[in-house]
Amino acid sequence: MIELDVRGLSCPIPVVKTKQAMDKNPGEPIAVSGETAVSRENISRLATMRKYSIKEDLISNDEYRIILTPAGQ
């Protein structure tokens, strides 16, 4: 599992980093830790477009951790 920490980074850096992690590690699940609802929405949209399933590992008002798993895993 690839761990990605995008806490404190403002849009669009979280989604850029997630995209790069997907491109570099095809077929690997990625766990993304972040803070803002905006970055979570953007990353979720990217994951859906790329046919990753999204599991919400932790959602609180101040932070989140979501696990993106590519199709077929």
Binding site: R7, S10, C11, P12, V16, E35
Partner: protein, 357 residues
């Protein structure tokens, strides 16, 4: 709680609200093809405060105040008011300065570029093409690992500064305070600054759009960036909705006048319309949002966005005090040099602020 405004239909509704709202604000008195222009309106506010003395562009625009306060209220209600800051503030300030200079060479922010097009102004095509080109350059930096670095969580009270500033400006507007004979506060007697919808209509429109945009994350620069960077057509559907609804409203209200020459608050210097918006687009990408989005972020406690907005206001003062801003007669002698300096600043920023992958 599911955020309905971040859905596809949500963003289309928000784009429509801005497009219709802008056409109506123009109908109620705002300048032609300038129902809403974040850059122009921040410039008018800089003028009202006496930061520049261009007599025709001085007014405390309630729309800008409404955008920040509407976003502030929406963010508080949704539990998204999160004061944060400390991500390269001085660089963001100067990105704001140069974004404004670029926008005032073209005469409009991305919103006004769309509204100009929806009003029939062909020169907007050059501006939008320049904007796309600037965003394209910025994306290359993003792909190379460009980042202004992490922001940090700040105390709740610090997030209130920007909304409080806007509330204070609203009081100055309502009571038309005069600090010295003749101003400040300055209010244009002629020119675009003298053209405005009634305060109540402007502030209500601003609050509604501010709240909707905060919920939907509406951003014109982000729309084009997402298409080019990740093939995401979510935000662009809102932008197209803005364009189409503003166009339809302009037809209904008799505000559509196609052509290149004699368009309101516009000039026909194609090269500098293009390059002015190239500079603005590049600065927006590096700073992470178009001028409207920066206002909404300021409202939800993003102090780095607040710094960018203050940079834009300072940039407006610079642009008019040093005769960089264009006028309907065309670009000035100094404007093009300022665009080149701005592009050099943005390129150095893009090349040097990279994280190692």
């Amino acid at each position: 709680m599911k955020n309905i405004f971040s859905s596809r239909s949500g963003i289309i509704i928000v784009g429509a609200a801005i497009g219709i709202g802008a056409a109506l604000l123009q109908y109620f008195g705002n300048p032609p093809n300038m129902g809403i222009c974040v850059a122009c309106f921040e410039r008018d506010m800089a003028g009202a405060l006496g930061f520049h003395r261009a007599e025709v562009v001085q007014y405390l625009r309630p729309e800008i105040i409404g955008f920040v306060l509407g976003a502030f209220i929406a963010a508080l209600a949704a539990g998204e008011f999160k004061p944060r800051g400390g991500s390269a503030p001085l660089i963001r300030f100067f990105l704001g300065v140069f974004a404004m200079i670029g926008a005032l060479i073209f005469l409009g922010c991305p919103w006004r570029a769309l509204l100009r097009l929806a009003g029939g102004d062909g020169n907007a095509i050059l501006g939008i093409a320049g904007l796309i080109f600037g965003i394209f350059i910025g994306i290359q930096f993003l792909k190379q690992g460009f980042s202004l670095g992490k922001a940090h969580v700040q105390k709740k009270s610090s997030g209130w500064i920007f909304p409080a500033l806007m509330a204070g400006l609203f009081l100055l507007l309502v009571f038309q305070v005069s600090f010295a004979p003749g101003g400040p506060i300055f209010f244009s007697q002629k020119g675009p600054g003298s053209q405005h919808a009634p305060i109540a209509i402007s502030i209500i429109a601003g609050l509604i759009i501010g709240a909707l945009a905060q919920r939907s994350r509406f951003c014109t620069m982000g729309a084009l960036r997402d298409v080019m960077l990740v093939r995401d057509f979510h935000l662009i559907s809102g932008v197209l909705s803005l364009l189409i609804f503003a166009f339809v409203m302009n037809i209904i209200l008799g505000q559509f006048k196609p052509g290149f020459v004699g368009q309101p608050v516009a000039h026909t210097d194609h090269v500098w319309n293009f390059l002015g918006m190239t500079l603005a687009g590049l600065a927006f990408v590096l700073a992470g949002g178009c001028p409207g989005r920066q206002l909404f972020l300021s409202g939800e406690g993003d102090m780095d966005a607040g710094i960018f907005v203050l940079g834009m206001i300072a940039g407006a003062a610079v642009a008019h005090n040093f005769f960089l801003a264009s006028s309907p007669k065309g670009v000035t002698a100094f404007g093009p040099a300022a665009v080149i300096i701005g592009l050099v600043f943005c390129l150095i920023t893009g090349f040097t602020l990279r994280e190692k992958n």
